[in-house]
């Protein structure tokens, strides 16, 4: 539909000018199609501020936020790098631990009996209760931030690995059984490949969770990163900076999610 509309637009205006106009129109249509809810929100934001008569002391306008971002990029660069480093490191470590433990647990009923309850309990302890306890155990530093992210990322990877490995069709299991495949062969050639879509789903679900975990931990305990910037700017009543760092954090998280999503599509397309 996008194509035919812009082609029609190009025909009606005609010539070189029309082709350029068509290209711009096509680009705008794609942007509109992909980002319409965000565009709606960006319009609603100042309208809502204006309708309620809120002043800058209550909530900053998009212009205030953009101004602070453009005039003080140096304030944001280091926090973004710190937060990214901890989130990506914690995500990788948490996925690795989750998948390896998932495979081990799937192989042994004893291991699954012993590890499943602990994993379940780790998963359901709210991070809001975990942070004060972990901070007292591991100190109020960056190491604790990594521990928190690993714990958050671990469970989706773990449980989706186990459920993905169990999802193999009975006929395939019978085939491998008839051919006399050993446990290792069955895991590496049958069950683990079958679990790859589930594992990639875990990665996609965990990418924003990792960023959020880092932000929450930085907000409460460590003195670096975007979470700390959010907190310190709120403490100093610099609302433009608080909202701008929230936007930067959101953009960072969306970027991580997008990367995980395209990785998931590419990998799943290859294995299925």
């Amino acid at each position: 539909m996008t194509q035919s509309l812009s082609v029609a637009a190009a025909r009606t205006t005609g010539g070189l000018f029309g082709r350029v106009g068509g290209a711009v129109g096509r680009f705008l249509l794609v942007v509109l199609q992909r980002y319409w809810p965000i565009i709606l929100l960006l319009i609603a934001w100042p309208v809502w501020l204006w309708a309620n008569g809120y002043s800058r002391a209550v909530a900053p306008s998009p212009l205030d936020v953009a101004t602070d971002l453009v005039l003080h990029p140096d304030v944001y660069v280091w926090p973004v790098l710190w937060t990214t480093l901890f989130a990506v490191g914690g995500l990788a470590l948490g996925m690795l631990v989750g998948v390896v433990l998932g495979v081990l647990v799937w192989m042994s009923p004893l291991a699954s009996g012993l590890l499943m309850p602990s994993a379940l309990i780790l998963r359901v302890v709210p991070v809001t209760a975990m942070i004060p306890i972990l901070a007292r155990l591991f100190g109020y530093g960056s190491g604790t931030v990594v521990v928190i992210v690993v714990i958050l990322v671990f469970f989706p990877a773990f449980s989706l690995t186990v459920s993905g490995m169990s999802s193999v069709a009975k006929s395939s299991r019978d085939l491998f059984g008839v051919l006399g495949a050993g446990l290792l062969t069955r895991v590496l050639r049958l069950h683990l490949p079958a679990a790859i879509p589930s594992i990639m789903l875990a990665l996609r679900l965990s990418a924003p969770i990792a960023i959020l975990g880092v932000l929450l931990a930085e907000y409460l305990i460590s003195g670096v990163g975007l979470g700390d910037l959010l907190r310190s700017s709120a403490d100093r009543l610099q609302f433009e900076r608080e909202w701008a760092s929230a936007l930067v954090a959101t953009a960072l998280s969306v970027l991580c999610f997008g990367l995980a999503q395209s990785l998931e599509r590419r990998v799943v397309d290859r294995v299925t």
Partner: protein, 249 residues
């Protein structure tokens, strides 16, 4: 020993090992005063003097979690169906789902309080996170129906809505319950995060006041209650997931 009893036995002994380990760490003081013996926490939970405090907090948090969870499930399913029925909207919805989840609750707080007040904020935080999880798992589930079935219905002249109801939706149910199991702890978590921003009651309020007053026993008791709640909701979701998986296997 029958093969059906064995996993239950392993599971129970695993929990016992975990609890004994936690108790020992506390009794021996291996991790200092931050890690009390479990028996102290249980005694605190059972002490009638603490029941009003803990009960009020629990009731507030569970109410927020359930209301927010119901809103989130409805919204997540609605948007996933919308993306399938009106494919033009799908790319925007996909990106917006990521944005909804990505906006850190910490940063949203002043904004949410402005709209809904301090008491409504936890419900909205829960609803937002549940919406995202359900949307992701539903849209992933709606795309798993095998193509031969979809093609068959299309060839036989079924409308998109008919095919959705008869083929895609039943095929999406297992993934939906997968999502629900993942959403269960997110409900309690979202409620407690929301409560950090000035709610009067709730487990999240207890975490903060216990931390600030060095009430380690209260902190652990509140944490234990939140874990038990999450486990109950999670258990219901997993039971439903198992039933559906058996039905559609």
């Amino acid at each position: 020993m029958t093969s059906r009893l064995r996993p239950v036995l392993y599971g129970v002994s695993g929990v016992v090992v975990l609890l004994v380990l936690a108790e020992l760490i506390g009794q021996l003081g291996l991790l200092g005063t931050t890690w009390p013996p479990l028996s102290t926490v249980v005694a605190f939970l059972l002490d009638p003097d603490n029941h009003t405090l803990l009960g009020n907090a629990l009731a507030a948090t569970v109410t927020e979690a359930l209301i927010g969870g119901a809103i989130g499930i409805a919204a997540g399913v609605f948007f996933a169906l919308l993306a399938v029925l009106v494919p033009v909207l799908a790319p925007g919805l996909d990106r917006f789902a990521a944005v909804i989840d990505a906006v850190p609750a910490v940063a949203l707080a002043p904004f949410l309080i402005l709209i809904l007040g301090r008491e409504g904020t936890p419900v909205l935080v829960v609803a937002l996170s549940v919406t995202f999880i359900i949307y992701i798992s539903m849209s992933s589930g709606l795309s798993v129906a095998s193509h031969p079935y979809q093609d068959l219905f299309t060839v036989l002249g079924a409308r998109r809505g008919t095919r959705l109801g008869l083929v895609d939706l039943p095929a999406a149910l297992p993934k939906f319950f997968d999502g629900l199991a993942l959403a269960a702890p997110a409900m309690i978590l979202g409620a407690t995060i929301g409560e950090w921003f000035g709610a009067k009651r709730g487990l999240g309020v207890l975490f903060i006041s216990a931390m600030q007053n060095y009430r380690i026993d209260l902190l652990w008791a509140a944490a234990a209650l939140s874990v038990i709640c999450s486990l109950i909701i999670y258990g219901i979701a997993v039971a439903a997931q198992r039933a559906v998986a058996r039905r559609f296997a």
